[in-house]
């Protein structure tokens, strides 16, 4: 059995990338896994062509949830809203590059759930009840 704790995951937990607040973000949304306390808020700044020019996140939680957010936020740089909307759980798992068991799936995909929520909110949709207030 290979460990899901590959060096990449641990390094991203210890030295996260894109971990910053963007004050004038166009998209800004947070959510959490109430059962385990993973907590992520994503900030996205768009350019005139509606492409991601800057992205940041704040959050706390397990190494899997935090590494996943690092990887996802890096992946979406330069993407349009439509491109981001097409991202699937499988794309994210591929970025993580590890086999995620059922028990840890919620940790792994929280970042994508937050991104989807951010886009939904940006487009004027109603936001869920579990929006993180202060991450």
């Amino acid at each position: 059995m290979t460990s899901i704790y590959q060096q990449q995951i641990i390094d991203l937990y210890k030295y996260p990338i894109n971990k910053k607040i963007i004050e004038d973000a166009d998209l800004d949304y947070g959510d959490k896994n109430p059962s385990c306390g993973d907590d992520i808020r994503i900030y996205i700044k768009l350019d005139d062509d509606q492409k991601v020019i800057d992205v940041g996140f704040q959050g706390s939680g397990c190494a899997i949830s935090q590494a996943s957010t690092c990887l996802l936020t890096d992946e979406i740089k330069g993407m349009t809203l439509e491109e981001m909307e097409k991202l699937s759980n499988d794309d994210l798992l591929e970025l993580l590059g590890i086999e995620i068991t059922h028990a840890r799936m919620k940790c792994a995909i929280l970042s994508l759930k937050v991104l989807e929520g951010a886009i939904h909110k940006y487009k004027g949709g109603a936001v869920g009840s579990s929006v993180a207030e202060n991450v």
């Binding site: 059995m1 460990s3 641990i10 210890k14 059962s35 385990c36 840890r104």
Partner: protein, 416 residues
């Protein structure tokens, strides 16, 4: 007399599951006993024998199997009531602590009224909190909480400040399932009675681990789970003083819990059956009886001694590690439950309990991570996202604990 280590080895022979391998040929190290315990062969054989030889509905048929099943089921009630020193009529079989507490809380609905006070503690497992939140909403009663001291021991001074003439009901755990603190159950019960309050004890984490005597404690109600004390899942008990159970409104209605029935009316069966509606979990009930036999055979004092031996060793080893923070009192005033976190020491990195548990699991070690069904305690009082928890029972060994703690050293090295 056997040494403790010899006795543990002997006990392990009764638990075949402890020999299994997990996660690719790793020896299973089961340290999640506060969640549920493993079952000895004696309990499993009792259940299997019931279905192979006896299976029939109880209290109904005038035929051989039904009579045998009914007799064994009642014998099992007797064993369990003797185990905690209650009367036969005072011991109701339920499916778990949660159901037991719901029976009591449901009964409070026509006893409490607006302005009455329910007193709980900061330790509460959700099972000992939500049912009372609901009663409070329905009746207008108010819930108040007894505080802990800095070591997470229950603060009797706070109890004395909070309990007053409006206090109608007090419920608290005998031992915290998160931090292992043992509460002064007798003292707190006495305090409640001085103000005329009824007292319920959540004994889910004490009945399996120590001698509990309801008459000595003088509690009015007490709940526990069979599955946390070697018995099958779907078993538990509710003790209640006879005169109070007589007054309490039944929780479930239907067959077996009635005496006379017309199209318009019904009267209730005698205790304990008034609270056991419908076909019961007979095999489970017999399994619970077998678990009690098993524990009595070891002796509850010896059970506590074994657990204390393991807990003391684990606490000592953990205290030597500066990257670990253990929550709660020292080994002498706690049960076999240890909540901790890898904080990382000076300038270290907090390792999230889910990562700790997952990395332990890769080594075959079962521990629990999260808020242990006591979310307010962990997040509001301890102000933590979660903790890791190891919890011991009579079949755990010093070697297992050493292996687990050495694994924590490895986990810390990966991050720090």
């Amino acid at each position: 007399m056997l040494t403790i280590d010899e006795q543990i080895s002997k006990i392990r022979e009764d638990f075949p599951i402890l020999n299994r391998k997990v996660r690719g040929n790793k020896d299973l190290v089961y340290l999640d006993n506060a969640a549920t315990t493993q079952k000895p062969k004696q309990v499993i054989d009792t259940i299997s024998n019931y279905y192979l030889e006896i299976n029939a509905n109880v209290h109904r048929g005038i035929h051989a199997l039904s009579e045998e099943a009914s007799e064994l089921y009642e014998q099992s009630h007797k064993k369990v009531s003797d185990f905690v020193n209650s009367k036969f009529e005072e011991m109701i079989f339920t499916k778990n602590t949660t159901e037991s507490i719901n029976i009591v809380a449901n009964g409070l609905e026509d006893i409490l009224s607006k302005g009455d006070e329910i007193v709980l503690t900061r330790y509460e497992h959700h099972a000992n909190l939500i049912p009372f939140q609901q009663v409070a909403k329905k009746t207008g009663a108010v819930i108040k909480f007894i505080e802990n001291d800095d070591n997470y021991n229950l603060d009797m001074q706070s109890a004395e400040n909070i309990v007053n003439d409006n206090t109608k009901f007090i419920s608290f755990p005998h031992m915290s399932n998160v931090i292992g603190s043992i509460t002064p159950a007798k003292e707190l019960t006495k305090l409640g009675h001085e103000y005329g309050a009824m007292v319920h004890l959540d004994a889910a984490q004490s009945v399996p681990h120590m001698k509990v005597d309801v008459k000595d404690l003088d509690v009015d109600f007490m709940s526990f789970s069979g599955h946390k004390m070697l018995a099958p899942m779907g078993t538990g008990g509710l003790y209640g003083k006879e005169e109070l159970l007589e007054k309490l409104h039944p929780f479930l209605f239907g067959g077996d819990m009635i005496e006379y029935v017309s199209y318009e009316e019904a009267t209730w069966n005698v205790l304990p059956w008034k609270f056991e509606a419908g076909t019961p979990n007979v095999a489970g009930g017999l399994g619970l009886g077998a678990a009690v036999d098993y524990l009595e055979n070891i002796g509850m004092d010896r059970v506590s001694q074994i657990e204390h031996y393991l807990t003391k060793h684990a606490m000592k080893r953990l205290e030597e590690l500066d990257f670990i923070t253990v929550y709660g009192p020292d080994a002498n005033s706690r049960g076999g439950v240890i909540s901790f976190n890898i904080i990382g020491g000076d300038n270290g990195m907090f390792v999230h309990p889910h990562d700790v548990a997952a990395l332990m699991d890769e080594r075959g070690i079962a521990i629990r991570a999260g808020h242990h069904c006591a979310q307010p305690l962990v997040t509001q009082i301890m102000k933590l996202p979660a903790t890791s928890r190891m919890s011991f029972y009579i079949y755990n060994t010093i070697e297992e604990i050493d292996f687990a703690i050495n694994s924590l050293v490895d986990v810390n090295k990966m991050f720090n």
